[in-house]
């Protein structure tokens, strides 16, 4: 009985997930919502906004600098954990 209920729940969830997948935008379509004006703006205005010729640098240390702060925190945490574990 318990197995049957679990089976039914899994089937219902699976059908719902498949229905959602049907609604997803086509991969790589030019009209997808992700292809909006943000990427264009970064590429066109990066030099004017940040003064950096390298658009990747402009994004990771200016537009998305807070994300890079998180990456630095990951490094700091890794080294703190390492020193805590390995230092005899």
């Amino acid at each position: 009985m318990k197995n049957f209920v679990g089976f039914v729940v899994l089937v219902v969830i699976g059908v719902m997930l498949l229905l959602v997948v049907q609604e997803m935008p086509t991969f790589g379509d030019i009209n997808n919502p992700v292809h909006n004006e943000v990427a264009e703006r970064y590429l066109e205005d990066a030099v004017k906004d940040t003064g950096a010729l390298n658009a990747v640098s402009a994004i990771i240390t200016d537009y998305r600098a807070f994300d890079t702060l998180g990456e630095i925190t990951v490094l700091l945490t890794a080294i703190a954990a390492l020193l805590a574990v390995l230092r005899s």
Partner: protein, 143 residues
Amino acid sequence: MRNIIVRVIARVIIPFIQLYGFYVVFHGHLSPGGGFAGGTIIAASLILYVLAFGLVAEEKRVPERIAQIIESLGAIVYVVIGLVGVLVGAQFLGNKIAGFPLGVPGRILSSGSILILTIAIGFKVASTMITLFNHLIEDEKEG
């Protein structure tokens, strides 16, 4: 690994690796590269030094204490540069809006806080890599 060939070649090649690493870090806002890539190259030269000359010799050149100070300093510089934006009334980690001089695009001293943040990331990544490596091979230390 205490081979004479390895030591001679390492002695010749390490300055060039470090120079290239510093080039990648300091041109992070101009050419492909940046703090993470350049810091890893600098750390690679130090790792080569450890492999060729041993951990003891490397500890004399870059003491663990200095590496840890550089490590913390990188993160502190990053946060302080971010807080400058808050102090002048713009947002956290703002660049142009926080009043950093942008300079002429294409020059080394340009792009305001991006250059400072890239250098901070570079030194931090380099010291992290070398500290990790030193501690992981410490168990296999032989004379």
